[in-house]
Amino acid sequence: MTHSQAYDVQPPMGMLAELTHRCPLQCPYCSNPVALERRRQELDTATWQRVFAEAAELGVLQVHLSGGEPALRPDLPELVTACVDAGLYSNLITAGVNIDRPRLETLADAGLDHVQLSFQGATPEVTDHVANMTGAHARKRAFAAEVTDIGLPLTLNAVIHRANLHQIDEFVDLAVELGARRLEIAHAQYYGWALVNRAALMPSREQVMEAVERVEAARERLQGRLVIDAVVPDYHARLPKPCMNGWGRQSLNVTPSGKVLPCHAAETIPHLEFWNVADHGLREIWYDSPAFNAYRGTDWMPETCQSCERKEIDWGGCRCQALMLTGDATQMDPVCEKSPYHDEVQTLAVRDASGASEFTYRRFARTTESA
């Protein structure tokens, strides 16, 4: 093992496996890059199987099988089996619109540990509008019923923004009704597609505060019945989020074509060099690839972060956001109140909160090549 850093790099705990970028939904805040990877670029079954084995060997404990819609991969059961064989905890992150009962049973029999199901709204009108798919809500409800009927633990995931922020209580009721053990209320994070749609998604500060209060009240009311995890909104905050709990500290992300990223948005930082599982082992990538070492630890931080007592709590916030909003990926996250750009970000949030409401839906760019 070659550790080229002076500081101690711990093995990763979690891996996000983006099996495909194809998806029947077109959510305008999708975390996939605007330039989606195409089917012919996707890793084959054997390569994913090797990657899962290498991940377990490296120290990964949980694998999140994600996308796009991971169930569009016909080999999904084999991939779950590969996770199980390697001792990995497997979590399926799905839109729940294209998995029928027999397929779900196959996945459960293969040893799938958990299902995370997205809901774009708490009602058919909102879900179908945000996902840009007629009938999506009804299909999701039916899928949730199958999941709990089979006995698999279920988490509902709701990405919230200006078009569904008023539905917090209804999301909570839906989670309870569908027998979910856990509910994630995640404010949209403005990267990729969500950045394109920021003016249509951004809530006002007042709406955010109300949402936070409603989540708190529900948490108290349902203690021991429903675990509610909330991802706090960003731009309106005083302190930055501890993005990924630190760059290259706990988790990694493998794209459909096998690029390994410190986070799903990392490719927005253009000068970084990402390694691919086709060329390197996962261990080598984690410890030695330039992209993972770029912002590890605290040495890269600007002086304000270096002298801040929160430097190993916030880890400087988010690198992608720093680049996007200040033009420099080594800047402190401009959400931080100590940043010289903080006021600018707050102004931008206020402006976008009264922006146009039309979505630019997530889809593959038109091309002469087939997806």
Binding site: P11, L61, Q62, H64, N91, H114, L152, P153, G224
Partner: protein, 93 residues
């Protein structure tokens, strides 16, 4: 806070697994999108959970392992289980 009785039988729900973490050392409880790293005592207590024996029996067994008053062990174990039930990584059968 959920109260745990000594007559209760507790179990790990589906989707929650106890396993050794060889790379980092120690044991972990793997749950939906969470990892709980257990210290030595927590691991000893959780590894007693088999979905069959009662909390009282688990306390009795731990009394044999640890030289401490039963009352003290009972208090710690029921508090730990109540915390895990609240996080939905343990359930009363």
């Amino acid at each position: 806070m959920t109260a745990i009785q000594e007559s209760d039988i507790v179990r790990l729900p589906r989707g929650v697994r106890l396993r050794e973490d060889k790379q980092r050392g120690g044991w972990v409880l793997l749950a939906p999108e969470r990892v709980f790293q257990l210290d030595g005592i927590a691991q000893t207590v959780v590894s007693q959970v088999d979905g069959e024996c009662s909390v009282g029996t688990i306390i009795d067994r731990l009394c044999e392992t640890y030289q401490a008053p039963r009352e003290r062990i009972a208090e710690d174990v029921t508090a730990m289980f109540a915390g895990l039930v609240e996080k939905r990584v343990l359930e009363v059968a």
